[in-house]
Each structure stands twice: as C-alpha cells, then as structure tokens.
Symmetry: C2
Subunit: 504 residues, 2 copies
C-alpha cells in the first residue's frame, strides 16, 4: 500500500485512516457532496471511484458540487453510474453533457465566484461530505491542497463531515504554494486585503474542525493531463489581432508594455492566444487567472511573465513533468487561491485585469453565448468568464469566425443564449480581425463587427439582416421573426449559409 | 439677480462669475460635456438651457455624458434642439427616447458604475467641459454638490475645463451630506475602505484644479419633483409577495428581521414595494442604493430605516418640501456618494445587499429585459440594475405579470433583449407570486416561474410552449422558431394572446 502516515502530521488523526470503499459506504441517497477539483486538477479521486463501484449494486443519487470540471473521467463515471441528481457549478465532460441535455441531471450553471457564497449563506443544500484531495495535513491542523484549491476551503468549513484524500503521488513541495482566505459573512466582512497579484493574504492550508473529519484515505494517482491542441493558423491569427489591439492601447497611452494583469480562460484557443505573446514586445507581465495552462509556464520560461496567481494548474503531460519536476524554480512565481478570490469582483476590478475568454458565438451587437450550442444544449458552462468579463478593465472574447467547415457562423444576428450582455463585452476577436466595442452605441457596434470579425462567406448574409433590421428602427434594430434564422436554418439544412447569399 | 458671492468662499474665483449665455458660448461643435445630474436631481440647469437657446441660430452637436437621467426637461430640450451626438450612460425622457430609437442620437447604455472608469482610462472621449451644479465652493477649494453626486467627481477631475453652477435655491445646509471618494488608477488602487453603510471614507466636497475653472454661473431653480404614482392593488400585492419571500428567508435563518442593506431601483413599482415594508415586522433597516425616493423617507419617518446611503435624492414636491425644510432632522441618517461608489461591485458584494429592481419582462428561465420594448426600442437604460444584481446577496426583479390591459405578458418564452442573465437573477416577483430561482436548474426554474408568476390568462400558452420545448430537449429547452412568437404576435395582432389559448 501507499499509505504514508508521515503525510498526516497531526498524529491524533492517524486512527481515521480508512479505505476508499469504507469511506464511500458512508454516503447515502440524497446527500450533497463537495468535491475538490478544478479544471481536471486536484480532484478527489478514490472516494468518487469507490462510490461509482457501489452504484453497480445499489440505487442512489447524490448532488455533486465541485470547484469546476473534474479530471480522471470522474464526471463521466458518475454520470454513467446514474448517481448524479444535481451538479454544479461547471463540468466539461462529453458523457455528463449528454445526461445534462436530456434533463437526466439537473445542472446549475453558476458564476464560479458565487458558489461559496451560496453555500455559506445556506441557499444551497448543506454539504454532507466534503471530499478533498491533499498532499498532507499539517501538525497545526491544516489541509494542504494539491494542484487546485477550488471551493475546498468552503466545502471544508461548511460540511457536516470531511473526508481527506492524501495523494502521495503529489509532491510535498506543493506546501507553501497556496494562499487560503475565506471572507467573513456579509455584515462583518472587511475589504479583501489583496492589491497586488503576488500578495499573500491568508494561510498556507485549509483550516478544519478535526471533530468533523470522518476519514482519511490514501491515493496515488496524478491528475489527468490536459490534451495538447497545438495552435493552428486561425488561433495564430487571432493571437496577432489581439496583440494588435493591445499594441493600439499602448500607443494610445492607455496601457504600457507591462499591460495589466492577464486572465485567460480554459481551452485551446485562449491558450494559443496567450502563447502568442511570447514573441511580442510585452514584458514583465503578470497573470491573475483561474487556471494556469501550458502557455503561462512557457511565458514564465521565456521571462515574459514574472508572477502568476490562479486557482488551479492544468497542464499537458510534458509540461506537468517539467513543472512538478522543477517546482523549486517556479514556486516563488506562483500562488494558488480559492476560486472565490481568484474570481472575486472586488479583486478583478481593483487590479484592472485584461480578461480573455472564449465565446461559442456572439451577435452583431456584442452579446456573447459561452455555453449553449444552438441555444439549448449545454456545452460546459459559463465558468469564470462572467466574473471576469463584468469586472475587468478590458473584457475580450475570442472565437473562430466559422465552425464545422463553414456550416456555422460564430457571428449571428442574435445569440441563441446570452451569457454576457452587450454591457459587459469590450472587444471581440476572430481570425478575421477585432472589434473594439467600448463606448459605442449598438448601431456602431454592428457595423464594426460585421466589417471586422465576420467570415467573408457570411458577411453579405449578416449585412442583409442588419439592413432589414434598420428599416424597423430602434436602439437595437432587429427583425425578431428572423433573429434566430441562422440557427433554425442550421437545424433544418445542416448549414447557416443561405444558398442565394453564399455568392460573395 | 440672485448672484450670491458668499457661496463662493474662495474669493480668488469671484472674477470668474459669468452669465449662462457666455458660458454656453464657449462650447463648440464636437465637444464632450460632462453634466451633473442623476435621476432628475442635482442637474446643471442654466448652461444646458443657454446651449439649447444658442441652437436656435446655430448648428452644432455635442456628446452629453451625465450621471443618469436629467430633470427639468433638459434631455427633452437637448434632443429637440438637435444638438445631441452621443448620449450616455442613462436617460428617461420620452422625447429623447424617440430620437434614440430613430438612430438620431447614439445612445450608449452603460452600467452606471462603469462610466467613471471609462473616462479616467481614456476609453471615452476627453471631457471638454464639466458642468456641475453646486451649493457652494469652499474656501479650501472644494465644490459642494447639491442633491446628487453622480459622475461629477470624475467629470471635474478629468475635464479640460470646469463650469460651476451655484444654485442658490438649494440650502447651504446640504454641506456635509456628501462623501466624495475617487479610486486610484488600477495598479496602485487600494481596497475601498467602506464596510458599513454609514461609513464616511472621503471628503465633503469635490476637489478641483482652480486653473481649470472657466466660469461660475448662478442659478435659482429647484430640481424637478418626481411624479407621484400612488401604489395600486398590484404593486401592493407585489410588496406582500416580496415581504413573504423575505419572511421565508428569516424563518430559514438566512436573514434576521434587520434584513440586509437594501437597494431599490428608481420607479413607481420599486417605490411602492419598498413602501410596503412600513407595516412589516422588519426593523433597523439600512438602505444602500443609488437613489432615495419618497418611500425611503417614509421608512425613516416610521422609524424603520436608520440610515440611507445613495448617489441622489429624487422626491415628490410634497416630500421635497418636508425633507429640505427639515434637513437637520435627516442629515445624520443620510450620505450622498459618487455613483461609482454607490454602485461599486466591491461594496455591493461586501455589504451583501438585497437589491430590488424593475424588469420590463422576464422569461421562463429567469433572464431579464430591463431596457428594450419588443427587443428593439430603448425605454430608459440598464442604469444600476446590473451593478446591483450581479453582486448583491439577493437579486430581486419585480414587474406586473401583464401590461396594456393584458395584451402583453411580462413573462415570455425568451426575452427579446437580455440585460440580466439567468446566472444573475435570484428572485422574480409579480402580483401573482414570487419564484425563488437560486440553486435551480433551468427546467426547475421554468416550472416555478410558470406556476407562481404568470398571469392566469397566459399560463396555458406558456405551458404549451414549454412542453413543446421539452420535446426538443437540452439544458435550456426552446423552440427557437417560436421563441419570440409572443413578441411577433404582439406586433402583428396587437396582443400576445393567441386566440385558441385564451380560454383557460
């Protein structure tokens, strides 16, 4: 076995060590579980697996609350086992997605900064079991998380029972990387004392009530690596347009070459766009984000980024080996915080972030759909994009202008689901170009977006829509009966392209 | 004349006193003006009037930036004079609305907390003239505002030129009521040190660079009174449902009878709903809002509210006489702040506000339209509703379930414009009842909204839509080709009610 009692430095807890099956057996139908894990990093692994095994012979359902998406196929296995009642606040698994879209799971798509508040205030069900991964438990009673913090601080502080998974595959050198801070309840809450990206405001571990610890389980499995999607021609063009926009800001005196702290969402597009900064003139950069992907470490290695704050680290296998194999080189440039702090409006506004997130589609007035394919089918969830977009200095959304070989235009007359309103979206970027929407009225925005961002094959079709809309008038002209025509055509004919308009 | 040089305590400024016509003559075509004024309170009056007069013989256009809506028909007169190029961040005038909806004015509908940031960062055009109403100028160089603060602090700090309108109709007793604080630029910005509703964190007046003052104009006109719309049966029912919801929160231990600091939007519905608390068991209440209407003073008089913070005071003639005639009685219970502070996400989240705002319409999944009639025609603007809804402890939206004698249902399948997404809306209230959407998946929300909030005459029609949508599936089921059918039916037939479904 890989039990290593040295990792549990509070020896009074040694008698709580159990196997994952036993721990899983305590969980009953109707309970709510708070699992560690954020973007495939730092997820509790052993007890969820054991719970899935139990489901082979037993029928029960539980609520699954996490930081964000889980790795190690846990969301997939939970879904297939049929034991998920309600899931929040985010997921990114193809199988779970199917169960969500049939209505089999109730999925609550939540701003990632909101979940902790809703748990503490008693709006969400009480957490029956917090199940959190750790590298160790300190002698003075703190849980040292692994590669993410997520909502674990709040799960541990609010749960009736705590199960700690000590993952011996993770280095004890992670101790000291985390900065744990939980705001007091409103009414007695003070300012969060963080005013620089690198500030440390809390403790190195999660404090806990030892009397609530039901079990300690040992595990020995690393996080799932992030799949590597190399940049392609379009993502490189998007990166260049984004850099062009930032350069324009610098030349207008609104930014310096140090830019402002950067947030970049999860996913290959944002990763590629961030990676595109390596060969730019920008320097002494800082990252204040929710997840650190490969590109941030490439920027650190290139001497472009001098500090990065986030809630989780999600890397490719190659980068994982490099970073965790040389943690001593990176640790003074990194801090991991609870998602409530990485995504907190107070901090985002104070630091004046530049936020870069991926859109599924946006419309001619700048509303963004981040979540729903064709307006109805959930992809992953809003994640932190709303936390950042609303409060950042510059809210940027990126997407390729077309998808499915051109059958889908990512720019439509009216997005079929709104996650970010026209009030919150500053700049949109495709491989065609960017549109800086700040300070523009809707009619100005429509012209700029159609001119700069739309793929040539859809330009005329969107122009025709907009011109017909103008005959109807209004602050935000629309032809409501045709507003979703791109989407309904796609459903009917397999393409948004109308035949007569395809000729450019 | 009503010039009263005693109001200008810095005597070095006495030689700058001019008439409004002269001050207006300095303004040139293409300039950007920053006018004081927020919800009909504290607006610069004389220079805008003189500018309108100039337009009788001269053709020019200017950008008009304000705190929010202006009183004294200024927005109407500016529109009629044809001198408005771009207007932001809010208006509420019927004539201006027409010019916006024909595309004659470019209207930028902005979160009220964002404008100051966008001016300071140089994203919006430089303010050529700040024109702000004041009760006086202090000997140590501060402008004491009148009945609103709005964006005046930032207009004054950022403008190339400043014109001060000393309104002698306003009592000098207003001095000491204001608390002026402007955040430093991001990068060197510290926490805003406000953690109680009644905290004072700044100065009693707006500091200014005397070398930028071009003129001082005397005026003698009070603010426009707010029209009195007495509560009706529906608003009283809405108030009772809202109180029922709050009572439920208290009985579940999530609030006490002191509730939490309350924000209530402008308008007769929010005013009536707030007024409904007078006969409730709630006590020791505090208000942290952007505007204080009659109901707040009624609650103060009734001993229910012990402190109120806002950015402006907008009252009926009767209440104006009472409050300004007895300011000594109220002044230790009031503070007026810049709208950047009243609406700041940092403060709203820290204080844990209960926010109550008016919706034009909401949909079966909880998305809210606050601004666009039939999705295209601007009503007033989003105002502060987004600042509050996104960050408050409980975001409540209220609206009557039907309008225009039943030809319009305020609950529709898909709102024709989204100002507040499903992620940001906690509770919706109509005279039919309330739906608490917190922690619910879209399908749960739809059932609750249709059951609790929809008018009986539209219930079957919405149920039919939802049932058809369920056959299509998805996280958020929709029949996209019928999603706006309520709106297109209204445009075609003058009613959203379909004939075959009207029979209940």
């Amino acid at each position: 076995m890989f039990n290593n009692l040295d990792r549990v430095k509070d020896i009074s807890l040694h008698n709580l060590v159990v196997g994952a099956e036993e721990a899983a057996s305590w969980i009953q139908h109707g309970m709510t579980l708070g699992l560690s894990g954020f973007t495939r990093a730092g997820d509790a692994k052993a007890v969820p697996f054991a719970l899935v095994e139990r489901a082979a012979n037993e029928s029960f359902k539980v609520n699954i609350f996490t930081g964000a998406s889980l790795g190690s196929d846990i969301d997939k296995l939970l879904s297939e086992a049929g034991i998920v009642h309600k899931r929040l606040p985010f997921q990114a698994d193809a199988t779970m997605r199917k169960h969500i879209n049939t209505g089999d799971h109730l999925f609550v798509d939540q701003h990632l900064s909101h979940t902790a508040e809703l748990i503490r205030s008693g709006v969400l069900p009480i957490i029956d079991f917090a199940i959190v991964e750790a590298v160790s438990i300190t002698a003075d009673g703190m849980i040292i998380p692994t590669t993410s913090v997520g909502n674990s601080t709040t799960f541990v502080s609010q749960a009736k029972n705590i199960i700690i998974e000590i993952n011996v595959a993770q280095s004890e050198m992670l101790e000291g990387l985390h900065d744990i801070y939980e705001p007091a309840d409103p009414g007695s809450r003070l300012p969060i004392p963080l005013s620089k990206v690198e500030d440390r405001i809390g403790q190195i571990g999660i404090p806990f009530d030892a009397s609530k610890v039901r079990g300690i389980v040992f595990t020995n499995n690393l996080d799932s690596p992030s799949p590597i999607v190399p940049p392609d021609e379009e993502t490189e063009e998007m990166a260049q347009h984004l850099i062009g926009f930032l350069r324009h800001e610098v030349s207008n005196g609104r930014l310096t070459n140090k830019l402002a702290p950067i947030q970049a969402g999860i996913g290959s597009v944002a990763n590629a766009v961030l990676g595109g900064m390596i060969n730019s003139e920008f320097e002494d950069l800082q990252v204040y984000s929710e997840v650190l992907q490969d590109s941030v470490f490439e920027l650190i290695d290139a001497g472009k980024v001098n500090f990065a704050s986030a809630c989780s680290i999600t890397l490719s296998q190659e980068m994982m080996d490099k970073v965790y194999g040389n943690l001593e080189e990176y640790r003074d440039k990194l801090v991991l915080r609870p998602q409530e702090i990485t995504n907190h409006p107070e901090i985002i506004r104070r630091l004046g972030l530049i936020s870069i997130n991926t859109a599924l589609e946006f419309d001619i007035y700048g509303n963004v759909n981040s979540t729903h394919v064709s307006g109805t089918r959930m992809m992953n969830g809003i994640g932190g994009s709303g936390d950042f977009a609303r409060n950042s200095r510059i809210a940027i959304f990126v997407t390729k202008s077309i998808a499915k070989g051109g059958n889908i235009s990512s720019i439509v007359p009216f997005v079929a689901h709104v996650d970010h309103t026209e009030h919150d979206v500053d700049v949109v970027v495709t491989e065609q170009g960017y549109a800086d929407l700040r300070g523009l009225a809707p009619r100005e925005r429509a012209e700029l977006i159609i001119n700069n961002c739309v793929h040539p094959m859809y330009k005329r079709q969107l122009q025709d829509y907009y011109e017909e809309a103008l005959t109807r008038g209004g602050q935000t002209p629309h032809v409501l009966e045709k507003a979703f025509s791109f989407h309904t055509e796609l459903a009917k004919n397999g393409t948004m392209l109308s035949k007569e308009k395809a000729l450019i």
